[in-house]
């Protein structure tokens, strides 16, 4: 079985490079004995360093959702809804984890019946032989790390993706509807897309050579598009555009920004599935993209509104983090810088002008930041992964790769949009999507949870 990193690096030369790299790590030992040790045997050994990094990466990605994203979003809503947002993030953490154990992991990563080039059911969804992790013990390996660790790491991705969507329908969705939507969405959107991209040989997008290192398509495009559809279907908040809906606690949002940024090192760096040069380069370009995007957003604001804002800087940084995600394992520092600048500018436009123009109430700009950022990164990876632009994909043909990336992004977006729409409409017709206007006025904290955020 192959690692996540090799899965996404489907171009032959990349694999070769990777093999070379591993070789180099073990070289001194290898040379000393000059014995033919099959690569497979080496693969089957647990590496404590890689395991250490993946353990902590798992913790870091979990940290991104609780409390990182929860705080980032929580600070942006009004006081009366702060707990509802925090609770949604926490409840999704718990619920998605259980689903991931029950069948999620298996549906995403069981490679039963898959073969390079063969298109069939399992090109789109995994099998069920790994449901409940049956038969997998602490000793079972995936590459150099325990498989259960790969399970846990990927679980944190399956947590944060639906949690990202929460920002779009914040302050008005019923808690029960949110749980139903997220669960069904995980099953019908996240699992297949995840499988198609990261499912390994025989997976639909993987076979096409789509590059998505840490989830530009799998995480950000899916979440961003679902967010857009959700906020349109559920409709704007009461009083949207007529009353001021000012973030109630920007210090909370900035705290969350810092946590997201730091946690993203685990998100992108951990996607190397090893503590190696790839992971190191991934965190470096991740950091540089966030920095460049934050400065870009801030700079544009400074020019347009005369004043740079903390929220702008923070939002820009998150846009840069989202955008660099699919590229982080393939590009160099300058690529990170460029992706940051482009995403900072494009996401600024999307979150301000675009939103205003079309009038949808994407309350916390999930589409504008994650959807658009994910798109930007998914396309730009075709450019900056090329060696001429500092990337590590030697033989990459920029043009054709761009086409591949665009296709995958669009197919994912259309599929996600469609399924999300059907789910939302279905829930609306049955248990209802939205709280009553009175509950919305009172605030979800009291209306749905009988709690109050602050009582100074």
């Amino acid at each position: 079985m192959e690692t996540h990193a090799t899965r996404s690096k489907t171009i032959p030369t990349t694999r070769f490079k990777l093999a070379l790299k591993s070789l180099q790590v073990f070289l001194p030992v290898f040379l000393m004995f000059a014995k033919a040790t099959s690569a497979h045997a080496a693969d089957a050994t647990l590496d404590s360093g890689d395991t250490a990094w993946m353990l902590i990466s798992t913790a870091l990605v979990l940290f991104m959702t609780i409390p990182g994203l929860a705080l980032f979003y929580g600070g942006l809503v009004r006081t009366k809804n702060v707990l509802s947002v925090l609770m949604q993030c926490l409840a999704l953490t718990a619920l998605m984890s259980v689903l991931w154990l029950v069948f999620g992991y298996s549906a995403a990563f069981d490679s039963t019946g898959m073969e390079v080039g063969k298109v069939g059911l399992h090109s789109f969804i995994g099998g069920c032989s790994k449901a409940f992790l049956l038969g997998i013990t602490g000793d079972t390996l995936t590459g150099n790390i325990p498989e259960v660790l790969f399970f846990a790491f990927q679980m944190t991705f399956a947590i944060i993706t639906p949690a990202l969507i929460v920002g779009a329908f914040a302050e008005r969705m019923k808690f029960s509807a949110m749980l139903w939507f997220s669960s069904l969405w995980l099953i019908l959107v996240y699992l297949p897309i995840c499988h198609m991209v990261w499912g390994g040989d025989g997976a639909f997008f993987a076979d096409k050579g789509v590059l998505d290192f840490a989830g530009g398509i799998v995480v950000h495009i899916t979440a961003g598009i679902a967010a857009l559809v959700a906020c349109i279907v559920i409709g704007p908040r009461e009083g949207y555009q007529t009353t001021a809906m000012i973030p109630h606690n920007l210090t909370m949002t900035l705290t969350g920004t810092g946590m997201l940024w730091v946690g993203w090192f685990g998100f992108n760096g951990g996607s190397a599935l090893a503590a190696n040069g790839d992971a190191a380069m991934a965190i470096t370009v991740t950091h540089l993209s966030a920095s460049a995007a934050g400065l870009t957003w801030m700079g544009i604001e400074w020019i347009i509104h005369q004043k740079p804002s903390a929220l702008g800087l923070a939002t820009g940084a998150v846009a840069g983090l989202a955008a660099v995600t699919p590229a982080s394992g393939f590009i160099g520092p300058i690529g990170g810088l460029c992706i940051g600048i482009v995403s900072g500018a494009v996401c600024f436009l999307a979150s301000t002008s675009l939103k205003r123009k079309f009038g949808y109430d994407d309350s916390l700009d999930v589409f504008g930041v994650h959807g658009v950022g994910g798109f930007v990164g998914t396309l730009l990876v075709a450019v900056f992964a090329a060696e001429s632009f500092g990337g590590n994909q030697g033989s990459l043909n920029i043009g054709s790769q761009f086409g591949t990336q665009l296709c995958a992004a669009v197919v994912t977006a259309v599929y996600t949009g469609l399924v999300s729409y059907i789910l939302l409409k279905g829930i609306d017709k049955t248990i209802g999507l939205r709280v009553t206007a009175q509950d919305e006025n009172q605030g979800l904290d009291l209306a749905l949870h009988e709690e109050t955020g602050y009582r100074y």
Partner: protein, 112 residues
């Protein structure tokens, strides 16, 4: 001069303020208060313990106005703060002996 104190629902504040500004009320002072009245409070539950919270968030407006326009102000507030549901609030009117504008030292109606 009269002092008009109005207790209203917080989400009506903007509308009331605009209405008052329209009829030429040049100033007002607003504070956050909690009200107890016919409108029921709510229950909060923390680890199984229920707490009855009787006080509801309200906004209080203080407006000093010359005698002639007091009725007009009261009418404007009554109109804009009205939702017809319990808890819409009350308006209290009392007499003011004097008003002083600190910046200029003006007194009486001139200071309004």
């Amino acid at each position: 001069m009269k002092k008009i104190e109005a207790i209203i629902k917080p989400f009506r504040l903007d509308a009331v303020k605009d209405a008052l500004a329209e009829i030429g009320v040049a100033g007002m002072t607003v504070s956050e208060v909690k009200g107890f009245g016919r409108q029921k409070g709510h229950t909060e539950v923390y680890r199984g313990s229920e707490y009855q919270v009787d006080f509801l968030p309200k906004v209080k407006l203080d407006i000093a106005i010359d005698d002639e326009r007091a009725a007009e102000v009261v009418a404007a507030i009554t109109k804009e703060a009205h939702t017809g549901k319990l808890g819409d609030g009350k308006i209290f009117v009392s007499d003011l002996i004097n008003v002083i504008r600190i910046r200029t030292g003006e007194e009486g109606p001139d200071a309004l």
